[in-house]
């Protein structure tokens, strides 16, 4: 299909589960939509090697159920992908193509850190593989990383090889709250520097109050969570608590990354800028969830406030519009990218991998 479209000068819109279709710039009309829904097989699950091969259209939630039966998981927990949930439409291809992640990114990284190899169809229909199926491999260029977060603009991901991890025997979460952004941020940073090997370390903020959530997984999660809780208390947080029934707490963190009516700005900043990010969000009436130790925050605001939020972010922080009404995505560049050598290099990459501009035209940075 890609080869034919390329020869005929058509463009194709690539899609997976359709959970993030409106991310990026407003799309140019494409007459053809290519949906990966029927390529949904779990091709391999090598439990002994902690690896798997998934077709792009496989729903992450379905794959997780399969891995869980062997006490394993793919350590990716973006929104709309939780096993057992009715709206878990996100596919592995879509998650990798958008680079989306959830709280587990704290310990395990983003899709690019868990994908061992990919098979892709390039803009002219060439099918190519890179990487491998073993967890350690440096042969050839790492095209899996290049395609992670490329929003389908270089070609279609057909299948991905992923690394799995043991599913923790149990989990528990320490939490505490406060009304002062500086105190909340400092408590989170204190935990980030502690040798507690947390599975996740999140912050949340809404309407003048926020909190820190620290999740421990393993053989002794409650005991370790108590130590985390003590540190939160020592850092000045209130209502400090530990719970081992923590799934709903984390589902709320994931859900906070998305918005149906509002706008979500994904902020990347140095972790030490967290307090200022919270203050900027508060100023604009925003709600925040985020990965404290990574400096990644998702701020939900009314669409009318998005521009003010972007302006209020601390110097050195970068804001990127994700969920937003089409009018807003026309009014401001969702990517917030400046012209420069890096963008020029990205255009070179695009022109080599998709020379005729077939795949998802103009949704990406700088009109790519």
């Amino acid at each position: 299909m890609l080869a034919r479209a390329s020869a005929e000068g058509q463009t194709i819109r690539l899609r997976g589960g359709g959970t993030k279709l409106d991310w990026g710039a407003n799309r140019a009309e494409s007459r053809i939509e290519l949906c990966t829904g029927r390529m949904s097989r779990i091709v391999e699950h090598n439990a002994g090697d902690l690896t798997a091969v998934l077709e792009a259209g496989a729903r992450l939630a379905d794959a997780q159920e399969r891995f869980a039966s062997a006490g394993q998981m793919l350590a990716l927990d973006p929104p709309l992908a939780a096993a057992g949930s009715s709206d878990a439409a996100a596919t592995i291809g879509g998650i990798v193509a958008s680079g989306d992640s959830g709280p587990l990114r704290h310990r395990y990284g983003a899709p690019r850190d868990l994908v061992l190899g990919v098979t892709v169809a390039l803009g002219d229909g060439t099918i190519a593989q890179s990487g491998g199926k073993v967890i350690k491999n440096v042969a050839g260029y790492d095209l899996a990383k290049l395609f992670s977060g490329s929003f389908g603009t270089l070609g279609l991901i057909l299948s991905v090889n992923v690394r799995l991890h043991p599913k923790p025997a149990g989990t528990a979460t320490a939490l505490g709250s406060g009304a002062e952004p500086g105190t909340v941020a400092a408590a989170a940073l204190a935990l980030a520097a502690a040798p507690l090997e947390l599975d996740a370390l999140d912050i949340a903020w809404r309407a003048g109050r926020g909190g820190v959530l620290a999740r421990c997984g393993g053989a002794n999660p409650v005991e370790r969570s108590r130590r985390a809780a003590e540190m939160l208390g020592a850092a000045g947080l209130e209502d400090v608590d530990v719970t081992d029934e923590d799934e709903a707490l984390w589902e709320r963190q994931r859900a906070g990354q998305r918005s149906r009516e509002g706008a979500v700005v994904r902020v990347s900043a140095r972790p030490s800028m967290l307090a200022d990010v919270l203050r900027a969000a508060e100023l604009c009436g925003g709600a925040v969830v985020g990965r404290a130790a990574l400096g990644v925050s998702y701020v939900e605001v009314e669409p009318a406030e998005a521009e003010r939020l972007l302006a209020a972010l601390p110097a050195g922080a970068h804001g990127m519009l994700q969920d937003a009404p089409p009018e807003l995505r026309s009014a401001i560049d969702p990517w917030g990218v400046q012209e420069g050598p890096a963008l020029e290099l990205m255009r070179q990459v695009k022109s080599r991998f998709d020379p005729t501009g077939v795949c998802n035209p103009r949704v990406f940075v700088g009109g790519i």
Binding site: N137, G149, F353
Partner: protein
């Protein structure tokens, strides 16, 4: 540009004393850690700042002269082998630690800083996990180029998981800043592990993490590698992720023990080092379990390090294994194949068979958790035909790894040494896709040419990206 004019321009940039052209001086840079290959470059430039690196690269670009960046020269795949008629850019003078910010868990360094110096700069609270065996001398710039691993990467990951920002000089002298969470393509991820073929990193931002609170280390001795492999499978299947899990076979134990006198058992067919680290509750709970699993898999003797000194000695013996091979054979050829861990016994058996058939000794020292083998094929250059036989045997071992579903290299890189095996792992369209990336970064093929790709390739013209016709943009016409 005549060579003399090129050298003058390099001297003007770096200073006369930092441009080497005398044959004796050039010879020092003729090989990296893989001494089978040797090539004399036109000149060696030793810039002292990122700006000088940029200027050197720009001069090379203007003269259309290829360049090769070199860190400490410890690489084992010939990745820093010079190109005749090219400039070798030695980065050893760029060794400043530019900033340490523990609140952000970040350090920014120049490429010539050694791997160990990074952990030292953030100690005692933090550390930088990737730890290649050459860590006390190898440079972080080289680690970035090769995506280096080490003994602890089964749990902690590789260089690529820790690089959060790069300043890169492209082959035409343009400087680009690449950040891990920047919008757009993950060019940072594509650059790490590209073996110097996409440009030269001049500034590197790294994530560092808290030092684990507790570390427990044991060495278990088994009858043979198959029994030790069973123990590895049992440990991993129990959901335990050791900080490191390393195996040595009979021959490598013999060599390493002779070097360090650590008390490794010479009657054992395999030694398995297992190190657990992390929060104390987890470590304690898991460590007893690991000991039980080793015993159940048939360990004859399990020794637990009782002090930091004992732990250091266990590791010293493991890390000395390569160097100690000199006691067994005058030379060896090291391979770096990877296999799915569950095929360990099978592939080790195959290596044994091949070694017997070739009449050569093969010692095995490897990262058992991630299936990264380091077979050391021993030979004597004085015996006619033996180096060639060793190389052939090493090649068959690599192919056995690929056939088992693995890779030709886990951490040493392709370089010049393994590029001939690339077609065993990748088809022509795969290689062509790699070349597209190469051409986007370096259309003239000046950055470290002759590495990674099995055959030389040129970049074609870029077909211009599709641009909408003005009538289309105005909504008057539509493209069919």
């Amino acid at each position: 540009m005549p060579a003399s004019a090129l050298v003058s321009r390099l001297e003007a940039i770096c200073g006369d004393e930092y441009v080497l052209t005398h044959p004796h001086a050039l010879a020092t840079y003729g090989s990296d850690g893989l001494t089978q290959y040797h090539q004399t470059p036109l000149a060696v430039a030793r810039p002292g700042t990122a700006e000088q690196v940029q200027a050197v690269v720009r001069v090379c670009f203007e003269a259309r002269v290829p360049f090769v960046a070199r860190g400490a020269g410890t690489g084992l795949s010939g990745g820093a082998l010079p190109v005749a008629e090219g400039v070798l850019i030695a980065l050893s003078r760029l060794r400043r630690i530019l900033s340490v910010d523990l609140d952000d868990g970040a350090v920014v360094v120049e490429p010539g800083v050694t791997n160990t110096a990074i952990s030292r700069a953030v100690s005692p609270t933090h550390f930088y996990p990737p730890d290649p065996s050459s860590q006390i001398v190898c440079s972080i710039g080289g680690n970035v180029a090769e995506n280096s691993g080490g003994a602890h990467c089964f749990k902690y990951g590789f260089t690529t998981n820790y690089v959060t920002g790069l300043e890169v000089v492209l082959s035409d002298g343009t400087v680009v800043e690449l950040g891990r969470d920047d919008p757009g393509y993950d060019l940072l991820g594509a650059f790490v592990g590209s073996e110097g073929t996409l440009g030269v990193a001049t500034r590197i931002r790294l994530r560092v993490i808290p030092v684990p609170e507790s570390v427990r280390t044991l060495v278990a001795f088994f009858e043979d590698t198959s029994a030790a492999a069973d123990a590895v499978t049992a440990i991993v299947s129990a959901g335990i992720v050791p900080g490191a899990i390393e195996m040595m076979d009979r021959l490598s134990i013999k060599a390493a023990e002779a070097a360090t006198h650590a008390g490794y058992r010479l009657d054992a067919g395999a030694a398995l080092i297992v190190e657990l680290d992390g929060p104390r509750e987890e470590c304690t709970a898991r460590f007893d379990h690991v000991m039980t699993l080793c015993t159940e898999a048939g360990a004859r003797d399990v020794r637990v390090a009782q002090s930091e000194d004992e732990r250091a000695l266990i590791w010293k013996t493991r890390k000395a294994a390569f160097a100690a091979m000199g006691r067994i054979a005058p030379a060896y050829y090291v391979q770096d194949g990877v296999i799915p861990r569950t095929r360990l016994s099978e592939v080790l058996g195959k290596i044994d068979e091949l070694a017997t058939a070739y009449g050569l000794q093969v010692a095995n020292v490897f990262h058992a958790g991630d299936g990264n083998l380091h077979p050391l094929v021993c030979y004597d250059s004085a015996c006619e035909g033996e180096p060639e036989r060793a190389e052939e045997l090493a090649g068959l071992i690599v192919k056995a790894c690929v056939e088992a579903g693995g890779s030709i290299t886990g951490e040493h890189g392709v370089g010049v040494d393994k590029k001939r095996y690339m077609p065993d792992m990748f088809s022509e369209p795969d290689l062509e896709a790699f070349q597209r990336l190469r051409c986007a970064f370096d259309p003239h093929g000046l950055a470290n040419p002759g590495k990674v790709m099995p055959t030389p390739r040129l970049c074609g013209e870029v077909p211009g990206p599709y641009r909408a016709h003005p009538l289309e943009r105005a909504g008057v016409a539509e493209r069919f």
